[in-house]
Structure formats: structure tokens, C-alpha cells
Amino acid sequence: MALLEVRGLRKEFGDVVAVDGVDIKSEEGEFLVLLGPSGCGKTTLLRMIAGLEHPTEGQILLGGEDVTDLPPRARQIAMVFQSYALYPHMTVARNIAFPLKAQGVDGPERDEKVKWAAGLFGIEHLLHRRPRQLSGGERQRVALARAIVREPSVFLLDEPLSNLDAKLRAAARDDLMGFQRRIGITSVYVTHDQVEAMGMGDRIAVMRDGKIRQMGTPEEVYHHPADTFVAQFIGSPPMNLLDWGDYILGFRPEHFLPEGVQDGGDRVPFDFFVNRIEYLGSERYLYGFIPGHEETKVIAMLPATVTVPLEEQRQHRFSVASDQLRFFDKDGGQKIPPQTIQA
């Protein structure tokens, strides 16, 4: 039995369909990431799971029980908002104790739990401060401690790292993952950052226009994108997509290599006219096009270990392993079975 299940969920705001028929099943202890561009409905979906929005249609089940019509307080769900939403008039200790108070947990038991939660995130020394006296990273820890203190069944996170600077974000991501693994709590994590999604998710649900376009492990969505949107949304730089007659041909920039670099196997050769080369230390980016397909920009990403001399404004001979070629339908962009290809 899935711990969290969403069936045919739909949400309309007036004429706008924010979430359009979403199905999700999440197992105990899973870290599920909702990934998509802004306005794709991922936050609305999260808010419906939390009970802050009422779905227009569909059902939400927690541990097999239908909770669609239950208010947020009855769902035993914890949520961390993007802004952290700390109560500014309360000390850190009172912030963390707040959900316990709602449950009627009192006295020494409450103090003990607050200490335990604060200990998990190393913020015991901040208990007497107020939110405004904390740094961004500290606030995030307080928000997490407050979320975890009553040991919820599901943990919802709405872009909790987006307010941190880049360096702090990497550290916070590491902390968060370590903590999730330790506690083993089912989590739903919303982000628009594909690096976060790839690095953290057990599974990723890629969303667009209120629909889930693909749901799978990071490997699946990266190597076997369900459609051209997923292919281009995930990966940096994104998958190269070329109009190839009856279908769309796709391959990742790191699989597009100069002839002779990788031998053996079944490889499909291409001519590649290189416009510009970017040297980035650990790799080289080559920007250009494939003759006959001048309208589409193609990028090749060569690791620093590939030292073949290449020149700008020259045509070179490249190739892709045939099992790394992806094929998509021309209308709709859906994945189709491998085709034979004439390069």
C-alpha cells in the first residue's frame, strides 16, 4: 500500500487549470521530487496534498485513507515553505514547540521533543533567539526542526533551498538528504532546479502545464525522456533535438564525440560544423550545426580527457553510439521506438 496516493487530481482557478489530472503513488520513505518550470502547477499540487487548496476533482489518500476533505490540521503532514514562515514574535524554541502545543503535548515531554528536534539540526544554541536574529541557513534549520518535531507521516518541502546562496545551498542539500535518509520519512520536494531534482530524488515527477510528463528515477528521466519537453528540461546543456524527416532525433551533448575517441559498438557518424569552442577547464563545449540542418544549434560536450585537437569554423567528423540515439514523434513530441537512421 502506498503511503501517499493522489488520484486524478485537478485544480482550476477560474479559467486557469493549474493541475490537470495528476496521479502519484509514493512508497514509505521515498524522496519524491516534483520538478517543472514556474507555473507548471507543482506548488499547487503540493498545497493540495497539504490541504491548503481544495481540489476541483480527484482524491488524496494518506496511508490508504481518503483525506481529500480533511483540513490541513487533521492530516499529520509537515510542510516547509519557501519563505520558512517562522513566527517572528516567537523564540526559536517556541517556534519548534508550536505544532506540539496544537497536539496538546505539554511540559517536560514538549521540552524534550524540542531539544531532540533542535539537536537533529544542530541549533540547540539558538533556542532563545528570535527569527530576525538568525541567518538564512539557520532559519531553514529552524523551519525543518519545527516540521519534524511531531514526527509527521509525510514531509512536504516547497523550494526550501531557493533562498540560500549557492555555496550554502550545496551544504544544505547535503544536510537535508542525510537527514531524510536517517529518519526515512516520505518526502515530497518541489523545485524548479533540475540539478537539485537529479541529486536528491529517489524518483522525479517532471511537470508541465499541470500534467506529469514523466515519472521515474533520475536515470530514467535523463536517459529515456518520455518526450521532447523532458529531454530539453533535464540536462545542462539540454539534449540536442534535430528534425530528421519523419521524426525528431535526439542525443545528449556528452554522447556526441569526435570520430575515433570511442571505438567499437555500433556508432552513427555525423558531420559537425563547429562555430565556437568554449573551454571550461573540466570540459569543452562545442557549438555548431550538422550540415543539412543549419537551423538547429547542436552542442557537443567533451570531457577534458578527450584531447583531440579541434578548430572553430571547420567541419569535423563526429559520431553517436546508436544505443544513445533517442527518437520522438513529430507531433506531440512523444517518445517512439528506435528507427533506422541514414546520416
Binding site: 490540521r73 519563505s83 517562522l86 513566527y87 517572528p88 514574535h89 530576525r132
Partner: protein, 294 residues
């Protein structure tokens, strides 16, 4: 200009002089404004203790005692007029109106600020427009209403009419305060296990404190100083407020009981000033409490 030492010294001297001039200007204007603010109040305080001969003689210094001070006009105020009744009436009307105003404007403002109503914004503006109709125009129809209800010559007339002014303005004022409190905080409290009402009372209200104080100050001062309605609804001495009782009973024909008038004003102003002052600290504390981020 080059950076040689004489130039630097000259610049330093210039900056210092400018800084000193700035300080002098600041203190001079601060003292000027203080005198301006204190002047009417201090004149009233001096006048209330003056003997009539002293007050009315043109040769005397009007800003100081030329004859020994006296308490006889304050005694007159308490013994010969219903001053204490006026004070009591003003307090009753002020407190009840304030309570009614908060009871109505808090939920109104919350609904207009938070719930996704399409016409919320427009309604907010419409509410504000009500304030633009002057009481000098409204008191005529209002008198008919009060007579129809049969509550003329009672405090209920004022308790009914003042909220028609205070509720719209307070709703409008509180709407801004509600909007300044992030929705996230309220929703967080709801996820943390409270009902919407629980979230409002435990999280939103404490953060609303400055706004609530502003409404209390506004509703109470309006009830205390309003004149036109109070004058037209209530003519009996027992149901007058300070605003109407003091001028109608201490000005008889062309005889002004100046010292008693001044006493009546100063005696209510002092406690109110002290109470507001006490609130002022909390008011500022509320503003500097710190928001969600940064």
C-alpha cells in the same frame, strides 16, 4: 585639485564646520517645534489657575501669573456642572464604540485582504469612499433615523452612529496590516495543527498589534471629540459627552468661563496623553519586530 596635505586639511575643516552647522540647525528646529507643540497646552494649564482679574486685565502678562493662582475655577467645574457625567459618558461611548469597531472591522478587513474575492479590492475602495461624505451633511438624515428608533437623548444614539464612521476606516486600515502579514505564516500554523481561527488568534493577531492599537486610538479619539452628532442627538445634560457638554455649559450667551473651560480640557487630556504614550512604545516595538525574511 591634488591630494596634498593643505587641501585635505581644508576639506576636513570644511566638513567639520558643516557637520557643526547641521547639528545647530537640527537642535534649533527641534526646540522650535517643541515650543510650538507645547504652547497651547501650557497656556491652558496657566490659564486654568488664573484669577479672573488677572486673566481679563490687558496690562498683565498673559503667559504668567500676575496674581496668586487659584483652584476656584476647577472647583466650579466639578460643583456647578455635570463635568464628571460628561467624562463618564465619553468613556462609555468611547469604549463601546472601540469594541464594536474592532468586532466588525477585524473580520471585514480579514475577508477583504485574504479571501480570494474578485470584488474585494473594489469593495475596499467603496468602503473608503463612505468616509468622504461629511457628517455635516449626514447628521440631518441620521437625526431622522435616531428619532425613528427612539434612542434620541440616550448614549445609544452615539454608540449606534459612531461605528458608521469608524468601521469603514478601520476596516480599510486593518486591511493594509493584514496584507503585510505573509499568508505563509498563517498557512504554516494551519499545517502545524490549528484551525483557521486558531491560526489567526495565535499567529496573526499578535503580529497585528500595531494595527489594532491604531484602530483603538482612532475609534476612541473620534468618539471623544465628535461634535455634530453628539450635539444634535443629545440635548439633556446627563447624556452629553465632553465634546458637547463642556462648550454648551461653560459658554452661556456671551459669557465664557475661560478658566473652567481650560481645566475641563486639560484634565481629560493628561490621562489620555499618558495612556497613548504607554501604547506608543508597544506601537514602535511592533513595527520593529522583524519580518519573515532579511
Amino acid at each position: 585639485m591634488t591630494w596634498d596635505s593643505t587641501n585635505v586639511a581644508r576639506l576636513r575643516e570644511k566638513t567639520r564646520r558643516r557637520h557643526r552647522l547641521g547639528r545647530v540647525g537640527l537642535y534649533l528646529s527641534a526646540i522650535g517645534f517643541s515650543l510650538f507643540a507645547v504652547f497651547p497646552f501650557s497656556w491652558a494649564v496657566i490659564s486654568m489657575f488664573k484669577r479672573s482679574n488677572d486673566l481679563y486685565s490687558r496690562d498683565n502678562n498673559p503667559f504668567w501669573f500676575n496674581e496668586p493662582p487659584t483652584l476656584q475655577h476647577i472647583q466650579y467645574l466639578f460643583r456647578e456642572t455635570n463635568y464628571l457625567t460628561f467624562v463618564r459618558n465619553t468613556l462609555i461611548v468611547g469604549l463601546v464604540v472601540t469594541a464594536v469597531t474592532l468586532a466588525f472591522s477585524l473580520p471585514t478587513a480579514y475577508a477583504l485582504a485574504r479571501l480570494r474575492l474578485k470584488w474585494g479590492e473594489r469593495m475596499g475602495i467603496a468602503i473608503f469612499l463612505v468616509y468622504l461624505i461629511p457628517p455635516t451633511l449626514l447628521f440631518i438624515p441620521m437625526t431622522r433615523v435616531i428619532n425613528f428608533l427612539g434612542i434620541q437623548e440616550t448614549l445609544w444614539s452615539l454608540i449606534l452612529v459612531y461605528p458608521t464612521i469608524t468601521i469603514p476606516i478601520s476596516s480599510w486600515l486593518l486591511m493594509g496590516y493584514f496584507k503585510s502579514i505573509p499568508m505563509d505564516i498563517e498557512e504554516q500554523a494551519m499545517v502545524d495543527g490549528y484551525s483557521r481561527l486558531g491560526a489567526i488568534t495565535r499567529v496573526v493577531m499578535p503580529l497585528m498589534f500595531p494595527g489594532i492599537v491604531a484602530v483603538i486610538v482612532f475609534a476612541f479619539t473620534l468618539s471623544a471629540h465628535e461634535f455634530i452628532y453628539a450635539l444634535s442627538f443629545n440635548k439633556a445634560s446627563a447624556v452629553k459627552t465632553i465634546a458637547t457638554g463642556v462648550p454648551t455649559e461653560l459658554i452661556r450667551g456671551d459669557v465664557f468661563f475661560w478658566q473652567s473651560l481650560q481645566s475641563a480640557v486639560v484634565l481629560v487630556a493628561i490621562p489620555i496623553a499618558l495612556v497613548f504614550n504607554a501604547f506608543l512604545d508597544r506601537f514602535i516595538a511592533g513595527f520593529t519586530m522583524g519580518a519573515v525574511k532579511g
